[in-house]
Symmetry: C2
Subunit: 295 residues, 2 copies
């Protein structure tokens, strides 16, 4: 019989991920701040836990899916946290998107308590979470990775579940992902802004560029959103801003100059200042269009 | 019988393009500063012209493929230029990559002399020029575009020969293309630099990113070049720098703020200053790696 799985954090992403784990037949125990999603999972066959420590007492595979490092810290090492109820040999899988530094330090603390911790942030949004087709970027012990691979495959596309390297490498890969998306998004918006300002059909420019070396998923998907002006999430800008804060702190930690990323970060501040935090992150194009004085 | 085609500018791109025109059976008359490529084309069946004006006296479809606006200006409107030998009804197709403003102004002068001028810059490099699979972005009169489409199809992929709009729109689209390639290239290099500085396998990061929303042709092709450190052209950096100068002047002309593009431009200056003008433009990644103190 499968090991019991614990799931902490049933938000927009966590809830459908936990449901997919249930569907694959894993015994599941859940905990979350809001009771609505907990009730929903219990109705679907999961057990309720009273605290993260209670999850740890019942499960030896524990997934955390919360907003950022302070929340992961609290859930693991706070009062009634996972660490206080830990069984020997437990594997903790943090699927939140946090900075690599804290991920490494938490993994060391888990190890000191006889557990193993993997960082395993995802890409693919709520749509990927519901469909069970997430990309999962994993950092940490290889044996632990192999042990939980079937569990990860309940949530992600098996071909896109990749162990990048040691502890923190999964989070670092996720930050690289967000850097590339952010930079590509802004420069695509700049190009479309120029086309619009010059009175040239920006839709035709986008199509022509998709046929060549300038093509990207961002040009395809975000480029279309930018031209239609539809910024429904998707992936909310305030969460993207959180990831970019982690990018910037990690660049500093490693003395890595990234001037385009620095500009993206500033435009993200301007996007937040314009009250667009709840829109899809492609709304940064709107900020670029504003800079050009475009409708 | 087909109209006689004139071709001016038999460089790295022009020479194979002219050869493809010959192969498709168009009568061809050629002119270029260097006699080697002219001799080569004459051996393949083309006629030699003594000047651009001489080309114009023999051909009613005239293609120009030279480095930048001053050269197009000289070839068309200089001493013994195309304009001094122009036959009524001639269609001039400038396939050089120049700024949209000069393209529009030259088209107006051509019109005043009874000719029609299209701007039709290409993408796809010398490989695409040899294979006859270039992307061609066209601006100018629709009837003229339709009239020369079979001629363009001798050089480009029929599905990627697109009329973007009125005069200058082809050049503007090409500038958008270069903006997007430049911005994507730099941010990809920044992400790979961070991975390398953090001691994470940058090749695995690139592969993981190619599976998701951060994927692009630049990540695929330039990303690989950056990681291997092989910067053989390809598309030379000094020509990319010329295109980016035209981007910056066109942004100014249309009051369009493009902060990421501005950073790309500065990094391009640094790349030229490091003596890398003859390398493939992906060598900008090397400049980003230098900034991070990487080998």
């Amino acid at each position: 019989m499968s090991e019991t799985v614990g799931f902490i954090g049933l938000g927009l992403m966590g809830r459908p991920m936990a449901k997919n784990i249930l569907k694959k037949g894993f015994p599941l125990v859940v905990h979350s701040r809001s009771q609505g999603p907990v009730d929903d999972l219990v109705a679907a066959g999961a057990k309720r836990a009273s605290s993260p420590a209670d999850v740890a007492r019942q499960a030896t595979r524990i997934i955390t899916m919360v907003p950022d490092s302070p929340e992961v810290e609290l859930v693991l090492d706070g009062t009634d946290g996972v660490f206080s109820g830990l069984q020997p040999g437990t594997i903790i899988i943090d699927m939140s998107s946090i900075a690599p530094g804290p991920a490494r330090r938490l993994a060391e603390r888990a190890k000191a308590k006889g557990a193993t911790m993997l960082d395993a942030p995802v890409s693919g949004g709520d749509i990927g979470a519901i469909a069970g087709t997430l990309s999962i970027m994993v950092g940490g012990d290889l044996d632990a990775f192999n042990a939980v691979k079937p569990l990860l495959e309940a949530m992600g596309n098996p071909e896109k579940i990749v162990r990048i390297g040691e502890s923190g490498a999964g989070q670092l890969c996720k930050l690289c992902n967000q850097m590339v998306i952010g930079g590509t998004l802004v420069v695509v918006a700049e190009a479309l802004a120029l086309a619009r300002k010059a009175g040239v059909d920006a839709g035709k420019v986008r199509e022509a560029l998709l046929g060549g070396f300038a093509s990207s998923r961002v040009l395809e998907v975000h480029g279309e959103r930018a031209l239609k002006g539809t910024y429904k999430p998707g992936f909310k800008t305030h969460l993207f801003a959180k990831d970019m804060r982690n990018v910037v702190s990690t660049l500093a930690e490693h003395d890595t100059a990234a001037p385009v990323t620095a500009v993206v970060q500033q435009l993200l501040h301007a996007t937040m200042a314009a009250g667009r935090g709840e829109d899809d992150n492609s709304v940064m194009a709107r900020t670029v269009f504003d800079l050009a004085g475009l409708e």
